[in-house]
Assembly symmetry: C2
Homo-oligomer: 392 residues x 2
């Protein structure tokens, strides 16, 4: 692990929020940072240089999907994931834990790890802490995640307690398996504990005992009410060391980003900007625009005045609506580029608000346009793998 | 019609081939030229600047599809098709005749025009020569096509004779309806006559009587054997004036481009490069590469060495295969960019070969790698609207 991986540049004197820098691959990445998701080695619909052109220098890849297809050994032989996907900047890979969870009935969890059948070809697959480390080392990401167990929404407290213990034992195995690679990538532990504040505290304290370069909070935004989500986040963050980065996995609703940044979270990822773009939902500082709506049919104006993306500077809302209605690939391209630009600008505003002490005002301003967004977003996601967005 | 719309820059002393320039919107477009197809106001998967970046300055739009969605009147109110789709260079729009034909049982042809039900919403639609002109004027293309009747493959000679006469009467109506716009766009007539050399001659001679700025040859590559296609092409071209551009509609197999350029054709269009890209078929000067094949799974080499496109300069065959297998949008983007680059390079080689008198050698070289491509391509296209590629 290089020196000075993370530094805090500003602390909100009136709260928990902070700004910082993640030093990765020669870049200083400003936090709080949002990370676009490139599940299968591509941020859907985008060229890497377009993602970097927006400003991003840290994106996600997915262990589970890349191991099943094309295989991490193959990616390693081709020079690692950075070279394979032509992304010269920093990468974070998820451990596969969440994807195993989303297989629901098709998986079996043992002390050893998870056994399941590949959703691609039905072949039996075993994912263990050691396997997850091996895969992530082969992919070669700059930040890698511990292999954790995620729980069903209805899990009873006793099951949660056992699961927290299992995840902690898995974490120790991950750390041992990572020792030889500790100079090359940063292993983050994941705090679990479901909806129990006490178990969140246990999980956080004992995860921190492993002395890792960063800590994630998992198991949130899986369908629980927002106050409970924030309570669980606080119960987790309260026991994490201030000087290490904190990553809220699968979080992407704009108001959640603000609320969690206010509680001291430094990193986020979500498929919301990319997936919603493909569904014709454009994020703007005036709220979400559903591009198929008839009101845009003859609208010659830009999608969002003042936005610098290609969709906003070169096309009318009417043309963007036409592309979406005609199911044209260019619709996904232009709206993805726009939404990634919106999320970049949103994070810039969040960082500026933290520095200026105006996060509450920003929250109030955006609450007026994004109120109820969470319910809407949940409405789309019947598939549990789609909820919470983690790496899906 | 501006002066000097088309000029011939070189004539093959030993044959019919020629090179030339089409002067449109301030550009001199070298011929023989291939025109990418942008059916619904977008060359699928590409940004306009990417299409122009390859070298193209003349692309197609489609009257039939754009009239049904979003409507030519709407496009006109938004500044015309050039502005709507952000394509500042030249546009050619097809008349809708071929798309009406591909509706098969759903259409009715009368002296007045064609009546059919919209494939989008079932609404009754009437397309006449005057309507086709009105629509194309509203779209604002630089070259527009006469409204013609296309025939079923099995049409008996008497039906062909009647159809040729109908298309000629429709042409006269198109010309009359175009008179007021004759300074703004170039109306091309379309030679029909199905598989009768005599009717091709009749159609060509009487189309030329209308004294138009250019002439197209329609009704080819609809499933007929290649020698018959070339015979019908010759029977058509023989009666067209040498000094006007000739456009073979829906032609795009590389060997057909060479063989028709050798017979004096100046313009071509086809969905082959774009559609095949989405189907994972990459054109190279070593032949077609089917990217899903297992041989590319670990292939670290470029798709086509020496090609300057993004797919070839920034990615391995293994990554391109992975994107295709994972059904990622980036696969369509990269392979479309590659195929459009291949077709651009192919036309450059055809033009150079015409100037150098080496078209036969180029033909022989490419015959070795593209032999049998036509049969393969036909094999995919059970849908008649997919055959011949015209504007589909």
């Amino acid at each position: 692990m290089p020196d000075r991986f993370f530094e805090i540049t500003h602390r909100d004197p009136a709260g928990q929020a902070r700004t910082g820098l993640l030093h990765l691959r020669g870049c200083a990445i400003e936090t709080p940072a949002f990370m676009p998701v490139g599940t299968r080695g591509t941020v859907k619909a985008m060229l890497p240089e377009e993602v970097a052109g927006v400003g991003y220098r840290l994106i996600l890849g997915n262990t589970f999907h890349l191991e099943l297809r094309p295989g991490s050994a193959l990616v390693e032989r081709l020079g690692g994931l950075h070279r394979f996907m032509n992304w010269p900047h920093a990468l974070l890979t998820d451990s596969g834990g969440f994807q195993v969870y989303s297989l629901a009935e098709m998986r079996k969890i043992t002390e050893e790890g998870a056994e399941f059948r590949s959703p691609y070809d039905g072949a039996p697959v075993k994912l263990t802490p050691e396997e997850s480390m091996r895969i992530q080392h082969q992919l070669g990401a700059d930040i890698i995640m511990a292999f954790d167990e995620c729980l069903n929404f209805e899990a009873p407290e006793e099951a949660v307690r056992k699961s927290v213990e299992l995840t902690l034992r898995w974490l120790a195995r991950c750390k041992a398996a990572h020792e030889s690679h500790a100079e090359r990538s940063h292993l983050f532990g994941i705090v679990q504990g479901h909806f129990s504040a006490a178990l969140r505290e246990t999980s956080a304290r004992r995860t921190v005992e492993q002395d890792l370069p960063g800590y994630a909070i998992g198991g949130l935004s899986v369908g629980e009410p927002e106050p409970l989500m924030m309570e669980m986040l606080e119960a987790s963050v309260a026991h994490l060391p201030a000087e290490r980065p904190r990553y809220a996995m699968g979080i992407g609703l704009p108001l959640n980003l603000i609320d969690m940044a206010a509680r001291g979270v430094d990193m986020f990822d979500c498929v919301i900007p990319t997936r919603n773009a493909r569904n014709g939902r454009a994020y703007t500082f005036e709220g979400i625009k559903i591009i198929k709506q008839a009101q845009y049919a003859e609208d010659a104006g830009p999608l969002e005045p003042g936005c610098s993306c290609a969709a906003c500077t070169q096309y009318s809302r009417a043309y963007l609506r036409h592309l979406y209605m005609a199911n044209e690939i260019l619709s996904a391209r232009l709206l993805t580029g726009h939404n990634l630009t919106f999320f970049w600008r949103l994070m810039e505003r969040i960082r500026a608000a933290i520095r200026g002490g105006t996060l509450k005002q920003l929250r109030a301003e955006l609450a007026a346009v994004f109120a109820g967004e969470g319910e809407e977003a949940e409405g789309r996601g019947a598939d549990p793998s789609e909820r919470g967005c983690r790496g899906s």
